[in-house]
């Protein structure tokens, strides 16, 4: 038996996969990794990841091997090191697999100029799926683990490391995008041409009131010419909704399942991953596409 212990959980560490689907009509959010590009890359290095990825934000976790050995790989842009069981320090890099042995501790210090990072574990973390997904929705209390990770959490990995070979891939080109192409939202017509012009020409700042549910923006006030209160209807991640204060919110992976604010526009799928990596104070702009 192999096991690991979380020696420092960090503040926003959760288990995620590609999302929980087919339950939104019962009020269950899709959740899933904020930056799905990264876990897609990690699959190339740890093919047998069992869809049990550890997501962290800003401050990374520290993980110590309690028993046996494990193979892992980190994805994202982060500072990290390994404290070996003989007390020596070892340099390590994202997107390169790492073999950790009993007593070794992986320390992820922080993400650099980005928000989210991920760890893939060979053979997963011994978790059972919840409604066909391993993702955690902390607000609804749903998931294989229905809360953020805590210090001293222990995971058992029953299978042994398949081979000591180390695999690496070139650091993926996850370019930083701050100008987003968006498509018309279902309530685009709730906004006058002047307001739409402010939306397209305005600069919006990502605020620190942003999390897995939504990214709150600060900028030009987008007041609807009709109403900021619509009948609740189904929503999907990437939608840009505008409450009555006129400050837009980009809905992210832990969306409420239905929403009652008008949606001016919507991002495409890959841009949800891109925008998730922009730290507070980043300035962004929108480019409204007319097709779709």
């Amino acid at each position: 038996m192999n096991s690991i212990i979380i020696t420092r959980a960090g503040t926003h560490s959760t288990i995620q996969d590609f999302g929980r689907f087919q339950y939104q009509h019962l009020g269950v959010s899709p959740s899933g990794a904020m930056d799905q590009r990264i876990i897609t890359e990690l699959q190339k290095i740890i093919p047998n990841h069992q869809n049990q990825f550890l997501e962290f934000a800003y401050v990374g976790p520290s993980i110590k091997v309690k028993e046996g050995s494990v193979k892992i790989c980190v994805g994202g842009n982060c500072n990290m090191s390994i404290q070996k069981n003989n007390n020596s320090q070892l340099e390590c890099q994202p997107y390169k697999s790492i073999n950790l042995f009993e007593g070794d501790e992986l320390i992820i210090h922080n993400t650099i100029d980005s928000v989210y990072g991920y760890i893939a574990f060979e053979h997963g973390l011994g978790l059972e799926p919840c409604l066909n997904s391993y993702s955690t929705d902390t607000k609804a209390g749903i998931g294989s683990i229905n809360r953020p990770l805590n210090d001293k959490d222990i995971f058992h990995i029953s299978k042994d490391v398949s081979s000591w070979d180390l695999i690496s891939i070139p650091k993926p080109d996850l370019e930083k995008v701050t100008n987003f192409k968006v498509y018309p939202g279902p309530q685009l017509q709730y906004f006058s041409d002047n307001t739409l012009q402010s939306f397209i020409s305005g600069v919006f700042t990502i605020t620190n009131q942003s999390d897995r549910m939504g990214i709150r923006l600060k900028g030009e006030s987008l007041i609807s010419s009709q109403s900021h209160d619509i009948l609740s209807e189904g929503i999907l991640p990437g939608s840009i909704q505008v409450p009555s204060d006129g400050q837009p919110i980009v809905l992210m992976r832990d969306i409420p399942c239905t929403g009652g604010y008008p949606k001016i526009a919507i991002l495409n799928e890959v841009d949800i991953s891109r925008i998730s990596q922009l730290p507070p104070e980043t300035k962004i702009t929108f480019d409204l596409q007319t097709i779709y």
Binding site: Q22, Q24, H25, L26, P30, G141, I142, P186, L231, L236
Partner: protein, 239 residues
């Protein structure tokens, strides 16, 4: 037919539009269409009904575009419906004891009626489940009698107790879990209505009918102690 047409929602979603009004008959058409589309077994990620819309979400625009015509065809299909009646009718015990009825006085004051009148009115109606949303297993039920129609609280409560019954505008609801929220709380039910361990995690489904009946605090506690599983509840309280 209230169905107006299908619109795009970004690069990977569709919205089926049933107009801007709400009514039970619109909702019945929405929920019928929801079943019909679900039965097509499309490669969709989620199909989300609400009062007068159905949102269908796909993995990408290519799959969305491939499936749009199938949905269109199904919506145009005028053959008599073959859906068996799958909706249920529920008789749900409700305790309107003052310990649970945190906001019942607001409704009494607004409509100048007694507590007993609120209880009798609320438990007199066979409600219709418009849809499930806001949080896992949360049913939007309606319509409440006109003497109970009450706006949301001006300041939402930070922590509404689990299993609370609420009223907002012309709808009533049950909060499956502890939650922040703005509905006027008038009572509590004695069992959980959402259970992740069950193969059907939500007790209520869109289109189900729900009737509350008033129970005393001691009856409430007796049922609460029994600790029903969802499967037992389905046997016990549906008809």
């Amino acid at each position: 037919m209230y169905f107006k047409g299908i619109n795009s929602y970004g690069d990977r979603g569709l919205v089926l539009d049933f107009g801007n009004e709400t009514s039970k008959s619109i909702s019945q058409e929405v929920n019928e269409a929801f079943l019909n589309i679900s039965n097509l077994n499309l490669q969709s990620l989620n199909i989300i009904p609400s009062f007068n819309k159905i949102v269908v979400i796909f993995e990408n625009s290519k799959i969305r575009d491939q499936n749009k015509d199938k949905i269109s065809m199904k919506m145009k299909d005028t053959n008599p419906q073959t859906n068996k009646k799958v909706t249920k009718t529920w008789e749900i015990p409700a305790c309107y004891n003052e310990d649970f009825a945190l906001d019942i006085k607001i409704i009494q004051k607004l409509h100048k009626i007694t507590k007993e009148e609120v209880i009798n009115l609320h438990s007199s109606i066979r409600y219709y489940t418009y849809y499930i949303g806001f949080m896992p297993g949360f049913p939007y039920l309606g319509d409440v009698p006109s003497q109970l129609i009450t706006p949301r609280l001006a300041t939402p409560r930070v922590k509404i107790p689990a299993r609370s019954i609420g009223i907002a505008k012309n709808h009533t609801c049950i909060y499956p879990k502890v939650s922040p929220g703005g509905w006027n709380i008038i009572g509590q039910i004695p069992f959980d209505i959402f259970d992740l361990q069950s193969s059907y995690p939500s007790l209520f489904l869109p289109g189900d009918e729900v009737k509350f009946y008033s129970v005393s605090l001691s009856e409430f506690e007796k049922i609460r102690k029994y600790n029903f599983s969802l499967n037992e509840l389905i046997k016990e309280y549906s008809s």
